[in-house]
């Protein structure tokens, strides 16, 4: 055995010794608990690459299901150089950091006007981002002391949205579109962005952000908006983006923490 330095780019899981590949796993099978079910669990784990698979715990959950805990080594290897991550182009900030950045950089609250436009009555998206109740364990933008939220709700006409954005001196306009029948979400968004371009000189136009489960996040140019957020976007991501797009960084070092939560693409 050579004592050469191990190749740190090629890895497998670590239990208590380098290269042992030990993995723990738990799952449920729709089988009553008996010897056959335990065998099925072991076979299943073996097929997943655990060899030998050790079924260390099996427990009936009602008459029709069995819960298993399985330990065992896997033999797969990962080359870290093969990992592709989509870098978020803005740092993810905690609410406190968002508030601090706005306070320092803008010296006034950041104003966000939100709405569902057109005939869309599905406020689930905009409410998840704006309401204090929030989404995925994160509080909505209303929770941020330095963000002023004006939520216009559902079925807002585009001219009304433009008017409200002007009246509230919106820094950003958030629009949510859920209904996609006959590409309504795309038409509505284009109409909205065109209206804002017409109503505001370029340097005064609020940042236009649109979100919904069926948007292509890369279609910003086509739709005439500054940012598109897809399914599963959290309020914290939106708040962080708004800060990076709207808040000038003062001379002092920003409180940004490095983005450690990278998403695999």
């Amino acid at each position: 055995m050579s004592k050469a330095k191990p190749n740190r780019n090629i890895v497998r899981p670590y239990g208590d010794a380098t290269g042992d590949g030990m993995v723990q796993m738990s799952f449920t099978l729709p089988l009553p608990h008996d010897k056959r079910a335990e065998g099925a669990a072991q076979l299943f784990a073996t097929k997943m690459g655990m060899d030998p698979a050790m079924v260390v715990h099996a427990k009936a959950m009602g008459p029709d299901f069995t819960f298993f805990v399985v330990y065992g080594p896997v033999h797969h290897l990962v080359d870290v150089r093969d990992v592709v991550v989509q870098e978020r182009d803005y740092p993810l900030l905690a609410p406190k950091e968002v508030n601090a950045a706005i306070k320092r950089g803008l010296r006034r609250p950041l104003v966000v006007v939100g709405a569902c436009i057109g005939t869309d009555a599905h406020t689930v998206g905009i409410d998840a981002i704006l309401n204090i109740k929030g989404f995925a364990g994160e509080k909505g933008l209303e929770y941020y002391s330095e963000i002023t939220v004006v939520n216009l709700g559902a079925q807002v006409a585009v001219p009304e949205l433009v008017e409200q954005a002007r009246a509230h001196k919106a820094d950003a306009v958030l629009v949510s579109q859920v209904v996609t029948q006959r590409d309504a979400h795309l038409h509505n968004t284009k109409e909205m962005s065109a209206a804002f371009r017409e109503a505001f000189p370029a340097e005064r136009r609020p940042l236009l952000v649109v979100g919904g489960p069926r948007f292509d996040e890369l279609a910003t140019a086509e739709l005439g908006v500054d940012r598109i957020f897809g399914r599963g976007t959290t309020p914290g991501e939106v708040a962080s983006y708004l800060v990076s797009a709207l808040v000038p960084v003062p001379d002092a070092r920003p409180a940004n923490r490095p983005d450690t939560r990278k998403k695999a693409s």
Partner: protein
């Protein structure tokens, strides 16, 4: 167990004068809101009257007939006198039944007026008779529940409360039955995201919801029937819970009474703070819904746990106490008894904080001490559940231990996969094992548990009570509506003249008639 040995009020050495002062202040803060509520009605209160009179169903677009009818009455005659007088007057004039009048109203072939003199008396009498039938159905459901509980025997505390939330009522049913077989005493069907902001109650059995299942009369009926089956199979009464909140609070409360639901989430301020519903709308709707709950023998669950998910659980501990006292005042004013007050609180202190468990015990014991005869709803950690399921399982164990040590009545079972996935079958089973282990190992530890009279826990409880009294003092000076507008609760600022549903609030005129409120306040059946 006798109160004298384990009375937390004595254990914490709380000053009875301070407690009395806290309640008196809550009464003074709440009284102006009650009189405001009495002076107004809302579209949802009026729709609830029609639902109690038996108007069900929806038009081809899925808009309920109660909405169609109330909208037309409002346009023709206004709602200042209530919906009952114009509607039963139109029924007398046309000879049509309630459904036909609603359909004709939607088609524009009947117009409404506020009747006067003998016409008014005739309409009032007929309306009362028809609404009374709905009230009697609620009474009959209450008797039926009492009979079942007598047959199966009362359920010892804490009641184990589990949630199902598939979005599809036909998936919810087997899940709820399985949860009951695994040990749940209470099943809550989480509502679809956003239902609280719908100004109508969807119709029929529903199979599509976002992160929950729509509350509809048909879904209530299906689930109650399924749990009745399971109750008979298990020999214990399994309770069903839903949400009387949002813009349709009075209607959903009425449907709960009509379909024998057993507990309802029904907070006095949640909709205002977390859903931006207009404060006046909320207080009017809330009072009516609580009158229904009182009559139906439904236990309400209040939502103080929510404040702690937005504000810091230590800094804002006293706002929970204040809200509990206000919820108690509003509930009792509406006719609810102590045993119906599932006042909420939660295990949400940052676990990295030194002495966090002692602080949790102090807060939980304070709630127990202030409301000795209320069941109390104990909510598990959510804010500090990170996705580390192993740590989460330990936190839930401590949550259960705090529940055991402080005699909580309704224990919402914490899931280690909180904030990760909607609970899997195995998550629920592991969570129930956690509860069983703790209560089996330490359920009676309460008998031995005496915080030191001048120790950390007792001092902290007295401090929180003191801060609650100070805050109530300020609220009384400032008025409750102003306090809500200023962001006192959950950090949310909600002015009384803004928020959703404001356009559905109507100031009553003299001669306003609401046969449901009359029957509820008189305790009458005819």
């Amino acid at each position: 167990m006798s109160r004298s040995t384990t009375d937390p009020r004595r254990m914490l050495d709380l000053d009875p004068v301070t407690i009395r002062k806290a309640r008196a202040l809550a009464r003074r803060a709440g009284a102006p809101v009650v009189s405001l509520a009495k002076r107004h009605t809302t579209v949802s209160v009026e729709r609830a009257v029609l639902r109690l009179a038996g108007l069900e169903g929806a038009d081809v677009e899925g808009i309920p007939w109660v909405n169609r009818l109330v909208d037309v009455v409002r346009a023709d005659a206004g709602l200042e006198h209530g919906v009952a007088l114009p509607v039963w007057d139109a029924m007398a004039r046309t000879g049509d039944d309630l459904l036909t009048v609603a359909q004709k109203a939607a088609a524009g072939s009947v117009t409404f007026r506020v009747p006067e003199g003998r016409d008014a008396a005739r309409a009032a009498k007929a309306a009362r008779a028809q609404v009374a039938a709905g009230i009697r159905r609620i009474d009959a459901n209450r008797r039926q529940r009492d009979r079942l509980i007598t047959r199966f025997g009362p359920q010892p505390a804490p009641w184990i409360y589990l949630i199902v939330a598939t979005g599809d009522i036909y998936e919810d049913i087997p899940q709820a039955q399985a949860a009951a077989r695994e040990g749940a005493d209470v099943i809550a069907v989480i509502r679809s995201t956003g239902q609280s902001l719908l100004d109508y109650v969807p119709e029929g059995p529903t199979r599509e919801g976002y992160a929950g299942t729509y509350a509809t009369q048909a879904n209530f009926r299906l689930m109650r029937a399924a749990l009745d089956e399971t109750s008979a199979e298990l020999g214990r009464y399994v309770r069903l819970t839903n949400y009387a909140s949002g813009l349709c609070m009075p209607e959903i409360a009425s449907l709960a009474g009509l379909e024998r639901l057993d507990m309802m989430l029904n907070d006095s301020m949640y909709g205002i703070l977390f859903r931006d519903i207009n404060p006046v709308r909320t207080f009017v709707d809330q009072r009516f819904s609580r009158q229904i709950h009182a009559r139906a023998g439904i236990i309400i669950n209040t939502g103080e746990d929510n404040y702690l998910t937005t504000a810091d659980a230590v800094d804002a501990a006293h706002t929970v106490t204040v809200s509990q006292l206000l919820n108690e005042f509003f509930a009792k004013e509406a006719g609810l008894a102590d045993w119906q007050l599932g006042l909420g609180h939660a295990f949400e202190i940052n676990p990295d904080l030194p002495d966090s468990f002692r602080l949790e015990l102090a807060h939980a014991m304070l709630a127990r001490a202030l409301f000795p005869d209320a069941p109390l709803k104990w909510m598990p950690p959510t804010k500090h559940m990170t996705g580390d399921v192993f740590r989460g399982y330990l936190l839930d164990g401590f949550f259960n231990l705090a529940g055991a040590l402080t005699g909580q009545g309704i224990l919402l079972v914490g899931m280690m996969t909180e904030a990760v996935v909607t609970p899997w079958l195995s998550d629920r089973d592991l969570a129930l094992q956690n509860v069983r282990y703790v209560f089996n190992a330490a359920g009676n530890l309460r008998e031995d548990f005496r915080p030191a009279p001048d120790g950390f826990i007792a001092n902290r409880a007295r401090q929180v009570l003191g801060e609650a009294v100070d805050l109530l003092d300020r609220i009384v000076d400032d008025t409750l509506l102003e306090a809500i507008a200023d962001g006192t609760f959950g950090l949310m600022k909600r002015p009384a003249d803004a928020g959703r549903g404001l356009d559905g609030v109507v100031r009553k005129e003299s001669g306003y008639l609401n046969p449901a409120t009359d029957l509820l306040e008189e305790g009458a059946t005819r």
